[in-house]
Amino acid sequence: MTDSIILVEDLDHVYMKNTPLEHQALYSVNMTVARGECVAIIGHTGSGKSTLIQHLNGLQRPQKGRVVIDGLDLSQRKLDVRALRRKVGLVFQNPEDQIFEKLVGDDIAYGPLKQGLSIKEVTERAKWAMEVVGLSFADMKDRETFALSGGEKRKVALAGVLALRPEILVLDEPTAGLDPCSRKDLLERIRYLNQSENLTVVFVSHNMEEVAYLAHRVYVMANGRVVCEGTPRHVFGNADILHKYHIGMPETVEILHRLKRKGYAVNPEAYEVQETVQEILSILPAAGR
């Protein structure tokens, strides 16, 4: 427990408090993330995922319960929000909402410039951030942001956050709306950041393939509560939970669950394509070979 960089305890959140439209988004949510871990949060639209991750960099403050990020307690009124936001980089779902400069380089430099760094330092950071997400600094910095493709926009948004040199990276549906090729590329970049640059990563996703690819641990949310938590293997193996809360599953897991229901001895936790192939091979009749 001592090494948890993110600690969420009994967190509640109510939107539009004291209005006719009041509704509760979080009910006593608990979550811990260890330094260097990659954690996925999955669940329906309206399950409270987005509200939860907005607490992680202080866009929302705990109304009840506790959020502690690397020693910074968000319940404290005198919290240094800027320090918190330097530590936690939040990438939103829609890149259009977070790219506001006209040129790519300016947009990536926005955060560091706000921090008052020298242009030299800002340039170095921007360069690092762009290379790490796979954008060539020399080619891209003078490009106009509106003319970028969807995949490039995501990368610019990600680089803009990385240029702040955060320790924790929080991503809201990092690949929604991308074509398969850009998606794969982006996922590899995120995995690299997590494994080689030692960033703690928390991401929200609907895409089970991507959860399977990236996450060490998964939190399943439904109706503002955490309903299940564990390794992807554990969660995907639990068909009851997935069905009960209408969580989609990877095609591999779906096949295995269906086979299992038909009485075949397969392990539904084997979610990687190669593993699934092995599982299927293991149950095929010997005579068919």
């Binding site: 866009l59 929302q60 403050r61 800027r82 936001r85 977070q98 506001f100 706000k114 702040l164």
Partner: protein, 279 residues
């Protein structure tokens, strides 16, 4: 603090309060017509007597619409300092300006208070409260959709002189439709910028330049987003066979009943009475 991002909470364009009262059930066309008649009437009546009567009538609308009067008063409250400032300015300086008339109550140096200037202050304060009350009742008892429909129908006669009524109503509909969408968009942009070190509303109010500069990274992208959405919407409307100049049919139809006509006639009578009051 964090809730400063909850823009949608502050949006009161559709502050519709459905209580199902007789005012709510009025035909929107007639309701709007009555409203316009009364507003114009009030704007042009400048005597004490008529404004007292108008104030009483406007207050009486709240119980009739089954809307708590505090909704009306909440519109008046923030205006009190302005009423006072204006009142002082007018009382002190009006007498010296054009149209000096009536009895002089007080005169010292450049300060002149006349019966006319006093009346102007009192009447404009009352008139303000009346208009607040009236427009509160209208917006609380009528959905924006009904308002738009009502307006469209009221403007229909203008088609004879070539005014594009349908198109005009459509513009209003689009405007109303996109307000919450843009509010959400703006909320997201503010959050994204805050996440990258921007600060909003933290500058002291007297640092006008700083606060104004903070505004640009929100306002300019907002326009760009709106114009981009406009391109999409144009395509979508064309794909659904919209051509501005063609004849269209309308989905919503209203039937004015006796009570609706009565509402309009009553408002005309009220305005006539207001003008008839001499002092």
């Amino acid at each position: 603090m964090a809730s400063s991002f909850e823009l949608t909470r502050n949006i009161t364009v559709g502050q519709y309060l459905p209580t199902g009262s007789i005012i709510h059930r009025l035909d929107p066309r007639c309701k709007l017509a009555a409203f316009v008649i009364l507003i114009l009437g009030i704007a042009f009546c400048g005597t004490y007597g008529s404004n007292v009567l108008a104030l009483i009538l406007c207050t009486a609308l709240f119980p009739l619409a089954r809307i708590p009067i505090r909704y009306g008063l909440s519109g008046v409250k923030p205006a009190i300092p302005f009423i006072l400032i204006l009142a002082i300015l007018q009382l002190l300086f009006y007498g010296k300006g054009f149209g000096t008339g009536g009895q002089t109550y007080f005169h010292y140096g450049f300060v002149t208070i006349t019966s006319d200037s006093l009346r102007l202050v009192v009447v404009s304060a009352m008139r303000f409260v009346e208009v607040i009350f009236l427009s509160s009742v209208l917006t609380l008892s009528t959905s924006t959709t009904e308002l738009t429909h009502g307006m469209e129908h009221l403007l229909m006669p203008l088609r004879k002189v070539g005014f594009p009524v349908h198109a005009f109503a459509l513009i209003i509909t689009i405007a109303v439709r996109f307000v919450p969408t843009f509010a959400l968009e703006m909320e997201k942009m503010m959050k994204a910028q805050a996440s990258r070190g921007a600060e909003f509303g933290t500058g002291s109010w007297w640092r006008i330049v700083q606060r104004t500069k903070d505004m640009f990274p929100i306002i300019i992208p907002l326009f760009n987003v709106a114009l981009k959405r406009a391109e999409d919407l144009i395509l979508a409307m064309e794909a659904r066979c919209y051509t501005p100049t063609d004849e269209r049919t309308t989905y919503k139809r209203y039937h004015a009943s006796a009570k609706d006509v009565f509402a309009v006639v009553t408002s005309l009578v009220i305005v006539a009475v207001l003008f008839a009051i001499p002092v």
